[in-house]
């Protein structure tokens, strides 16, 4: 439904987004995860048609928006795609005025816009706030109002930048519940940027990791920015924090290393194996996810995440704080 195609975006000489293809399907929820400064917010602004990419195309229903027909086409497309920024701002006026703003901008009458705004407020538990001005709202309330203001427009695609960063657990569940309902009922496409992986794994259909403006070919954990030595042996040893990771690659220079969590063997003792990377440490946490898998996060000098089954977790008697060994082959390490 919404797609970035061969998009390169630069601020001056600095490349901030370099994405070959990124798609948000109708009815889907795609999460973009990545560290601060990885390019998540810029990618969302490109999807929201607020910035024109330096190169490449932004497609809405397979139509290239910026090439379609001038500013009118962009404004029309923007009315189908709405972005809620990480630290959203509310306009002057009450919460009700804000919730109705987008509809009023579309020429909807005051009464009808306010009715729709009140309906959305009820769904997001914003009813008691309707008469308040922005100065009397907390950060979490502003965030909820901003999401409600966007959802009241019934956009085809909703882009959310850290939508629950200031919300409490109940508010976050309410928000994700409403998003889930909108996806089911009318095929709302959702793309959210988050640094909270647990949320992403819980709610998203697809999780994409972004590092230095580039999408990782693997899951978002275990990404490390390194400087690879050039030439010589294809098996290279790269220092990442206090440990050294063996990598099989011909590349040299700045790169991102990715260790897929499913390629990490977990044991309680070191094993005799062909794995060139063997690191002992202790379990930090266990996170159960959909489908009976468990993500084991361990401190092995750096923080690494492994994906194992619940059965393996039981057999190894893994609990937070227990000793553990992570092993993976040099060829399992992806370089991009």
């Amino acid at each position: 439904m919404l797609e970035l195609n061969a998009v390169r975006h630069r601020y001056g000489a600095r490349s901030v987004v370099d994405v070959e293809r990124f798609t948000v399907p109708r009815g889907g929820l795609v999460a973009i995860v990545g560290a601060n400064g990885s390019g998540k917010s810029t990618l969302l602004r490109l999807l929201a048609l607020l910035e024109r990419p330096t190169e490449g195309r932004v497609l809405l229903d397979e139509q290239s928006v910026w090439d379609a027909g001038g500013r009118a086409a962009v404004v029309a497309a923007r009315r189908r795609v709405t972005l809620v920024e990480q630290r959203p701002v509310l306009f002057r006026g009450t919460v009700l005025d804000n919730l109705a703003f987008g509809l009023r901008s579309r020429g909807v009458g005051t009464d009808a816009a306010r009715r729709a705004a009140r309906d959305m407020a009820a769904r997001l538990d914003l009813g008691p706030l309707l008469g308040r001005p922005r100065a009397e709202l907390s950060d979490g309330e502003i965030q909820r109002v901003a999401v409600g203001r966007a959802l009241a427009l019934r956009p085809d695609a909703l882009l959310l930048d850290e939508p629950v960063s200031s919300a409490d657990g109940a508010a976050a569940r309410t928000l994700y519940g409403v998003l889930e309902a909108e996806r089911q009922e009318r095929g709302l496409a959702v793309c959210l940027a988050s640094h909270q992986l647990e949320d992403a794994y819980r709610w998203a259909d697809d999780i994409r990791a972004l590092a230095d403006g580039r999408l990782s070919p693997v899951t978002p954990e275990n990404l490390f920015r390194v400087d690879l030595p050039g030439g010589g042996d294809h098996t290279k040893h790269v220092r990442v924090g206090p440990i050294e990771i063996a990598v099989l690659t011909e590349k040299g220079g700045p790169a991102i290393l990715a260790v897929p969590p499913s390629d990490i063997f977990v044991s309680r003792e070191p094993m005799a194996s062909s794995a060139r990377n063997v690191f002992a440490g202790s379990v930090i946490r266990l996170a159960h996810q959909r489908g009976g898998a468990v993500r084991v996060t361990a401190d092995v000098g750096i923080e690494l995440v492994a994906l194992i089954t619940e059965e393996a977790t039981r057999d190894l008697a893994l609990v937070p704080g227990c000793a553990v060994v992570f092993s993976f082959k040099a060829s399992a390490v992806r370089v991009f």
Partner: protein
């Protein structure tokens, strides 16, 4: 001291007696200043918004021209306008030279760059998320500009005040293209200059007091409006 004291006494007498000439000059000045401020702001505020809202080809050059225009001496503006409006000038057929309309045009030319430059600074001071948010919620160009202007309302009110201040205090261009004709184009500033030159210190002082009062009233009115608009 007698000279100053006598001047003040005569000024107060003129003011409290409702002297027709003094108040005639004041009303003309007010009319000219209000029209010129309205025109300068009607043109300058959108120009300032356009300069600040987003980059476009030639923006830097336009900003340079606007900022330079602020520093042009009023007599130079008066000189150029005199050339344009004089009988042999390209706009001579309008017959505006030595009319209050010529003073309005001169005042607009002086206040327009000031209004545009200050408006651009005011818009640049608005959180850029306001514009992005309005756009992503589907607002068109005008509604987006309106939302940005609402956020910058205090600074934009100050722009109007500054433009009014510039216009009401202007003397060089008004003198050159207005001609300081009694009852027709004599404004407070040109009258003050003339009265002082003629040695009528009391009249000059009375006009000066009105001038200051006008500036004070406009400032207070805008502050009241700002107070009502806050929140």
């Amino acid at each position: 001291m007698d000279f100053l004291g006598e001047g003040v006494r005569r000024a107060l007498a003129l003011l409290f007696s409702g002297d027709a000439e003094v108040y005639g000059v004041a009303f003309l000045t007010l009319r000219v200043a209000c029209i010129a401020t309205a025109v300068a702001c009607a043109l300058g505020l959108p120009l300032g918004y356009a300069l600040a809202a987003r980059p476009f080809w030639g923006r830097r050059a336009t900003l340079t021209v606007v900022n330079t225009a602020i520093a042009i001496p009023t007599v130079v503006v008066g000189l150029v306008l005199y050339g344009l409006l004089s009988r042999r000038g390209p706009l001579g057929d309008l017959g505006w030279l030595y009319t209050w309309r010529a003073i309005v045009v001169g005042d607009v030319l002086l206040a327009l760059p000031l209004a545009a430059a200050l408006a651009a600074a005011a818009v640049q001071g608005v959180d850029p998320r306001i514009r992005r948010t309005a756009e992503t919620l589907g607002a068109g160009s005008w509604r987006t500009a309106w939302m940005v202007a609402r956020e910058a309302r205090f600074a934009l009110a100050a722009v109007v005040t500054a433009a009014f201040g510039q216009v009401v205090a202007e003397v060089g261009a008004a003198m050159m293209v207005g001609g300081n004709i009694r009852g027709q184009t004599r404004t407070l500033t040109t009258a003050v200059a003339l009265s002082t030159a003629q040695g009528d210190f009391g009249l000059a002082l009375a006009l000066g007091i009105i001038l200051i009062t006008l500036a004070l009233v406009v400032n207070v009115a805008l502050q009241v409006l700002q107070g009502r608009g806050s929140g």
